[in-house]
Amino acid sequence: MTVASRQRLDAGIMAYEMRIEHEPQAPVSEAEALAGGMVVRDLNAWYGSFQALREVGVLAAPKRITAIIGPSGCGKSTLIRCFNRMHEVAPSARVSGQVLLRGEDVYAPGTDPVLVRRRVGMVFQKPNPFPTMSIFDNVAAGLRLNGFLVRRSDLVDAVERSLRQAALWDEVNDKPNRPATELSGGQQQRLCIARALAVEPEVLLMDEPCSALDPVATLKIEDLMRELAREYTIVIVTHNMQQAARVSDYTAVMMMAEDRAGEMIEFGPTREVFTYPKDKRTEDYITGRFG
């Protein structure tokens, strides 16, 4: 064994021993989430008279990926839309409770939803680039259209940065003025991610971002998510349990109550939720014994 490999082996053993000392990894504390991520408390949401969410509480740890899973109709999308105040865009939509972004309630009276949405970005299930705009214009849209005057050079830098972050730069930088609709499905979704990142949000919400994509594109986006989690707080809604298990650090499980309102039944580190869940309903849902 060479000296170098001996050293690597020793370093590896030391690192392993240190990890054992610090295990088990404590679940994210509310204080941590309050300071750097998002905290939801006692959230209720209605569409007209129909209650879609009841007393939901959840944490989104900073620089981690939190997955929200649950059967169809349990309110996952409604919940995530409350994070960036998109819920109220629907007619007669109403909310009560708190959604705290770094400790400030986004629903506090007088808060401008437009400003909230700049800090909390969103990527949707079906890729939705603006069809009349080129790739460049799509990514720049958030910067151009939010009322601030941006110098052309700054715009170009921002677009390049975002496309690199979304792992799309290499594929499109030769002709960034092509219409966005010429890209494949997976590329379009990465374009939407770049577009969302261009306004430099603190949190990125992803509502089933891979459901419309093929398996290869899906895995690329999952890799991308892990990269992005180094800088951003990420919350992902997915109905694909294996994806949630692969990608997330924390998992929140939602269920539909008898009156069809959505409730949060479990929240914890992904490792625990998928090997030893605490709630029987979670166990039934995860193992597929659910109804």
Binding site: N84, M86, V89, V114, L115, V116, R117, R118, R119, G121, M122, F124, K126, N128, P129, F130, P131, T132, A141, G142, L145, N146, G147, C192, R195, A196, V199
Partner: protein, 279 residues
């Protein structure tokens, strides 16, 4: 089920199909007849003079209807400038902002307005604009035609804007773009072809209206380019004058002018349809 029943049913099917085909041909055939008739009657008098010369005094040969064409262009231009933006604005309001109740009221009003006889609109503008101004004018005619165009543009704009998928609006809103900016920079550009089409079809419709012109611009034997100064001639008016006069020279020119008018409307409509189809 017996063979007889089956055969009887097939015969009935064929009969019904045949009847429907006949009616379809009749419907199309009418248009073809009109075009053909006008074409036949007018093609002989269609010459460059028609477009470049002024009308000559009664009885004399030659001359053209240049002043009518110019006048029509001015009037329709004014109508478009007034009617299309307002119509699109109404369409935007209906599609993006109005609630169900208010939207329903506005739509109903627009539909009623479409049904108001154009002559009544002409009289209305006469009282409102011509009397106030003290003279007939292209502007008055433009306003009248704009009123006719307005509900058409509003309704078609609303339809076109509704066709823009909701996901586009959501994408823009989620970026932190304000509502009005979203509409102007994302929704309207996405619907631009449809909006243009709607405008063109409204123009095609208004271009042929004659009754309102009678009360607002009266007609003018001479070329006038003034917008508010006095009466301006228009193609439908000239056709009316010539066709109801005794002179066969003028009848010929009327046919030719009719041909031009019909062809113009035809071309605008065709362009509008093609625009919508091309991706």
């Amino acid at each position: 089920m017996s063979i007889a029943t089956y055969q009887r049913r097939r015969a009935t099917n064929a009969l019904m199909l045949g009847l429907c085909a006949v009616f379809a041909f009749l419907a199309v055939g009418v248009l073809v007849l009109i075009l053909g008739f006008v074409l036949a009657k007018g093609i002989s008098s269609l010459n460059i003079d028609l477009f470049t010369r002024m009308p000559v005094p009664e009885g004399e040969p030659g001359g053209g209807v240049a002043n009518s064409m110019v006048g029509s262009l001015i009037i329709i231009g004014l109508a478009a400038v007034i009617g299309i933006p307002v119509g699109i604005g109404a369409g935007i309001f209906l599609s993006e902002y109005a609630g169900d109740r208010l939207g329903g009221v506005i739509r109903f009003t627009a539909d009623v307005l479409t049904g108001v006889p154009s002559i009544v609109i002409g009289i209305f503008v006469y009282g409102l604009v011509v009397l106030r101004m003290g003279n007939f004018s292209a502007l008055a005619a433009g306003i009248a035609l704009a009123i006719i165009m307005l509900p058409i543009v509003a309704r078609s704009s609303e339809e076109m804007l509704r066709l823009v998928p909701h996901s586009q609006r959501e994408a823009a809103l989620a970026l932190g773009i304000s509502r009005w900016r979203t509409i102007i920079s994302v929704v309207v550009p996405a619907a631009q072809r449809g909006l243009l089409t709607g405008g063109l079809l409204a123009i095609a419709r208004a271009a042929g209206e004659t009754a309102p012109l009678l009360f607002t611009t009266l007609g003018n034997r001479f070329l006038s380019l003034s917008v508010t100064g006095g009466p301006v001639d228009a193609l439908p008016l000239r056709i009316y004058r010539y066709a109801t006069g005794p002179y066969s020279e003028q009848h010929q020119q009327a046919w030719a002018a009719s041909l031009v008018l019909v062809l113009a409307v035809f071309v605008i409509s065709l362009t509008a349809r093609l625009l919508l189809r091309r991706r």
